[in-house]
């Protein structure tokens, strides 16, 4: 099952074209043009696995939104896109729990690889949680 992606960037052209290309490759893509909207979508749609988000955006910026995502939805992985050519913001993003970062403009294959890795990580973690839950239930039954 392919990953469910949320694409967040203020550049409409970028988001739209990127979404088309990703969908062409079999991914489910939801698009939005601001961080706040992205958070709203995450709240409603729990099927989203990976968020690809720009760092610099008017209003709430990517770094801030990332923190909210990581506290509210710890299992959702975030790949940051930085057009600001500063490694500092990327490092800060990584510290706040981003899965990885990519420099804009990025190669689509790089992005796909990252998204796949992020999706696998998320699935691995979900599996672990399920196992833990199952073990917990088994142990409780063994009492």
């Amino acid at each position: 099952m392919p990953a469910n992606i949320l694409l967040v960037d203020d550049e409409h052209g970028f988001v739209d074209t990127m979404a088309k290309r990703l969908e062409n490759r079999g991914l489910t893509v939801t698009t939005t043009y601001s961080a706040q909207e992205g958070l709203d979508i995450l709240e409603k749609d729990h099927s989203i696995d990976v968020v690809v988000m720009d760092v610099k955006m008017p209003g709430m910026d990517g770094t801030e939104a990332l923190k909210v995502v990581k506290t509210s939805y710890p299992l959702v992985e975030v790949v940051m896109l930085t057009g600001h050519a500063t490694v500092e913001s990327a490092i800060e993003g990584m510290k706040s729990g981003a899965f990885d970062y990519l420099m804009k403009p990025c190669d689509l294959n790089d992005l796909l690889t990252k998204v796949d890795e992020a999706y696998e990580k998320k699935q691995a973690q979900e599996t672990k949680i399920l196992e833990a839950r199952a073990r917990h239930i088994v142990l409780r039954r063994g009492d």
């Binding site: 088309k20 290309r21 057009g83």
Partner: protein, 577 residues
Amino acid sequence: MSDTHYYHGLAKSMMFTIILVSFAPLLCIVLIAGYQYSVAYEEKVEAHLRELVLKHDQSIDSYLEEKVAEIQVLAEIIELGKLHDPASLQDLHDALVRGHGSDFVDLGMVNSDGIQVAYAGPYKLQGVDYSEAEWFKAARTRKVHVSDVGLGLRGVPHFTIALRLDEDGEEWVLRTTLDFIAFNKLVEDIRIGETGLAYIINRHAEFQTTPRRDMTDEVPFLRVMARSMTDRSEMVRGRAAMSLETNPATGRETIFVTSPIKGGDWIMVYQQDVADAFSDLNRSRNLAIVVLLLGGISIALMAYLMSKRMARKVARADQAKDIMNEQVIEAGKLASVGELAAGIAHEINNPVAIMVEEAGWIQDLLEEGLGEDDNEREVQRALNQIRTQGSRCKEITHKLLSFARKIDPTVISVCLNELVLEIVQLSEQRAKYANVVIETSLGDSIPPVEASPSEMQQVLLNLVNNAIDAMDPGGGNLDIMTRVEDAFVVVSIADTGCGIPQANLSRIFDPFFTTKPVGKGTGLGLSIIYGIINKMDGSIAVDSAVDQGTKFIIRLPISDGEDGSACDYATNEQGTP
């Protein structure tokens, strides 16, 4: 121009300070020490002269007294009868010559009629009549008389000691002549310096000794002096009295030391020119003046050279400072351009990213085949998008180029509105990401100001950057306003940011003052702005309240001789690259 004038004045004031500071103590020391020295020296000289005169008048008095006493002794121990006899008188004289050398020139016995009845000596004076002689008359009344010096009958200077003897009611006078040369020597030996001179006069100012030089010119003056000594009591002019008077004969100031001798009959006078007496003092005074003069000259010279050199050094330091200032401005310019470039890079990255994506999309579509669905239309759309984004890039690069082209410090007529718009365009993207809304209210027909466009750009860009920084996370409004007030163009840049605490307000224009963390700001921005505005004879003021916002107000003088049309022209030109 005014610079050389300034350094000239600086050198001058330094020179005068150096001269004053170094010359004043020198002068003080020379004056004080010179005064003390001259007083001490004068006292010493006076004391010495008095001592000299005192000693000599005593020795002369005692010489005369001794001679008189010897004659008295003779008269007392030798029978009067023997003295009448020329032969025994001759014996007596011989004995005196043996004992006293040639002091006693001769001996004579004069009877009451003044006839010299007996005589022993080198001259033939037997039977001479002395009845009219001054000394003879005096001896009749005073018993012992020492006469003034005179030539007498023999034509040689001498003086006489006459002693009255009484025998059986008859009066005799024993007289002896004293060698003038021996006596003269007593006085003549006193000689000090060039003009120091001692002599003895009587009350009528007749010389009793032979002065070393011709003094006939001074006789009237001496007569007045001698009379003044007899007129007043001797208390007025005691022994070794000193007076300073102008000698009429020589016309020079002369020291006179006078002392009465021989019971006041004679006056011993020592005279010396003041200049001569104090010649040592004068010499040292001259030396002091020479030293002072040389010292003064060398001080003045040194002060002149030193102040010249100092002024040159200050000028060089100022020059270095100016160069440094320019470099700092240049560095500040680079910093603000760097900050700008970071924003621009982001701005360019976005269209580039879109273009890359669109190109990738076209590639995807081509792989599918243009015939599929409406793929051809989609490719057309993508190409249009690429064109749109490409022209967006072009716009950005043109903005940057127009900014970079104007890095030139030459001062020309600048239209501020145009500059403000340019800066606003450049900062728009940065403001957007900081959630800052820039609003401009630019006055109509703002006259041009004299400025370097690149420096003015730097000022505005710096202030706008600062304002955006102040509002960064929360966002806010940035109002840029231009208007004309009196002879000034006023630009105000107001933000609604964090504000500047009161404590920092007085320091914001200091170089290197910054509240940003290390590595984030140089602290030079506002100090450079201050320097640039100052250079343009403008002023910059700040009005700030914490959490309310900050307002910078720049006032620039309107350039004269230009009208507003220059602005319109520049604005029109802006469109072309």
